[in-house]
């Protein structure tokens, strides 16, 4: 499956239009990097068909998103949001079960099999003990993992994940990135926005560097993640080093 953009200009006010031509294939794991406010989240939402671009289009499997039926699109594309809204009480299990929504018809009730899938997702993210807890009582990291469990239950072909490691401790950061990598290896398509260059360097096969003032760069992570490209990206002097054969970038304290 291919997720591609054609002359895509995001709907961000006061921004010089730099049309984006992306072609993302199944099996790849993409990281979107860029400074605050550059449009990482807007790009993810546009790729999911939730936000209309200023111009250009997004296609999934060579068919424009606007031609997809909403529900069949949701069977293929899953999104994890950065902010989790909950005005009403819901348990962790109910939240994980949300992922089954696109797979059931309006008159169908969730079956034991659906509930078993949700429980398996919770177990994978080490949330089984919390399954009857209200999401409003969870810590930030637990909520983040609950949202990811819902996505795992949805089991889409395309994973669009906004800041997957937000609020997570180091152990769970690794667990979550490994989950996403495993999905990419089993021929899913994974796109995530990231703040941490080093996570992108460790886990992503490809990166997209979104600059506020010039055309974006995209390609293989090992080619693009260099001081030459990253310092202008963040407007921040960086240093690079190697630990255990891995490239590491750190900000230069000024």
């Amino acid at each position: 499956m291919t997720l591609s953009t054609h002359s895509l200009v995001l709907d961000i006010p006061l921004r010089e239009p730099h049309p984006l031509e992306l072609a993302i294939e199944s099996g790849q794991m993409w990281g979107i990097l860029g400074p605050n406010g550059v449009g990482k989240t807007t790009l993810l939402h546009t790729l999911a068909g939730l936000v209309t671009p200023r111009s250009g289009s997004v296609s999934l499997a060579h068919k424009p998103l606007s031609d997809w039926h909403r529900l069949s699109l949701a069977q293929q594309v899953g999104v994890m949001f950065q902010e989790h809204q909950d005005g009403f009480p819901a348990t962790v299990l109910e939240t994980a079960l949300l992922g089954r929504f696109p797979h059931l018809s309006p008159w169908e009730m969730e079956t034991d099999a659906d509930i078993a899938m949700a429980r398996a997702s919770l177990a994978y993210l080490e949330l089984s003990a919390l399954s009857e807890r209200s999401v409003s009582q969870l810590s930030g990291g637990e909520r983040q993992r609950t949202a990811l469990a819902a996505l795992l239950t949805q089991d889409p072909s395309v994973w669009l994940v906004d800041e997957p490691t937000n609020h997570l401790d180091l152990h769970h950061q690794v667990a979550v990135m490994r989950l996403l990598q495993r999905k990419a290896q089993s021929d899913k398509l994974v796109v995530m926005s990231l703040h941490d260059v080093n996570l992108a360097a460790t886990w992503c096969s490809h990166v997209l560097l979104l600059y506020p003032d010039r055309p974006a760069l995209m390609g293989r992570a090992d080619k693009l993640l260099t001081l030459e490209h990253l310092q202008p990206l963040y407007q921040q002097p960086l240093v690079q080093g190697e630990i255990d054969g891995r490239l590491v970038f750190l900000p230069k304290p000024v």
Binding site: A74, Q75, A90, M109
Partner: protein
């Protein structure tokens, strides 16, 4: 559709409780009937007085009370989901204000009976259209815009009502006040309310899952395949229609639409497939009970039913809240 146990048992229990309350309500009043007398009256036997009492006074009124409660509770649950605001109730968008202003104008003009109800209904619909039209503004009507527009319009209607009461001739004021407080003694035609309540409960059933997702926010719902704009518009229309019919039947009875959905959520969780039908039953039961008390406590005098719904609801709600999981 496979209805799992967690749907069947609560709904069955509520249905039985509703039936018991309705039958009890028909037996109670300024003249109490025994179950035997009631059964005779139902079969067209027994004293003529009892038959008239049951068929022409009590049954229509109890049915009207039940349907009004059901309409208000379902409308409240829908408004809370639509506006993603637990404090929303059926009247929050100024619907009852519009209905009240129209009804009071009708009373001032000397209009009574069916035409008074018609005026109230038109007022409710006009107010709904006004709020929705104004909330559109530039771009789409966000729930927050809708809520604020509704609250402001409701305040405007409130001022109009006060003005009319201040200027009204004294002999008209008692009738106007009774209409404002919510009163079932004029509700002799429960059929409109039932004709709206029952089909809409069926329309809502397949929407339950989409509403569950919408309660998690519009973006999440859209990402899971819900056509949010269409669903929100449909919910708005349905909730407004339910409220307009309720207000037309019985004036503005407060509290039911706010508290019944919350009570049920505290006990049953927040699955709309369960909550919406449960609201119809529990809201109906609450108003039926309240109306029965309203017409028996100091019979033959009657109390405003809205006072009783609040007096019954407040302690029950607080009790559930202390034990609940909010």
């Amino acid at each position: 559709m496979i209805a799992p146990r967690y749907l069947i048992w609560p709904l069955l229990t509520l249905t039985i409780v509703s039936l018991v309350c309705v039958i009890a309500a028909v037996t109670q009043g300024s003249v109490a009937l025994s179950l035997e007398q009631l059964w005779q009256a139902f079969q067209g036997q027994g004293s003529l007085l009892n038959q008239t009492l049951v068929w022409e006074l009590r049954v229509p009124r109890v049915l009207a009370a039940f349907a009004t409660g059901g309409l208000l509770a379902v409308a409240g649950a829908l408004m809370q989901i639509l506006l993603r605001n637990p404090l929303a109730d059926p009247y929050v968008l100024g619907i009852s204000g519009g209905a009240s202003v129209a009804a009071l104008l009708a009373i001032l003009a000397g209009i009574t009976g069916v035409f008074l109800s018609g005026a109230a209904f038109i007022g409710a619909v006009l107010s709904t259209l006004l709020v929705f039209g104004l909330a559109q503004g530039v771009g789409r009507a966000s729930p927050m815009r809708l809520l604020l527009t509704g609250v402001v319009i409701a305040a405007g209607w409130g001022a109009c009502i006060t003005l009319m009461l201040a200027l009204a001739p004294p002999q008209k004021i008692p009738g106007m006040l009774f209409w404002l407080m919510g009163d079932l003694s004029y509700a002799h035609t429960p059929w409109l309310a039932w004709l709206v309540l029952v089909p809409i409960c069926f329309v809502l059933m397949p929407l339950g899952r989409s509403l569950n997702v919408l309660a998690r926010g519009p973006m999440q719902a859209a990402a899971l395949g819900v056509n949010v704009k269409q669903l929100e518009r449909l919910v708005f229309v349905i909730a407004s229609l339910l409220t307009a019919v309720a207000v037309t039947t019985a004036g503005s009875i407060g509290f039911v639409g706010l508290v019944v959905p919350h009570m049920l959520r505290l006990v049953l969780g927040n699955d709309q497939r369960l909550i919406l039908p449960a609201c119809a039953l529990a809201g109906g039961t609450l108003v039926t009970l309240a109306d029965t008390l309203a017409r028996t406590v100091i019979a033959p005098e009657q109390l405003p039913v809205g006072v009783i719904t609040a007096l019954l609801g407040v302690p029950t709600f607080l009790f559930l809240l202390r034990r609940g999981r909010v």
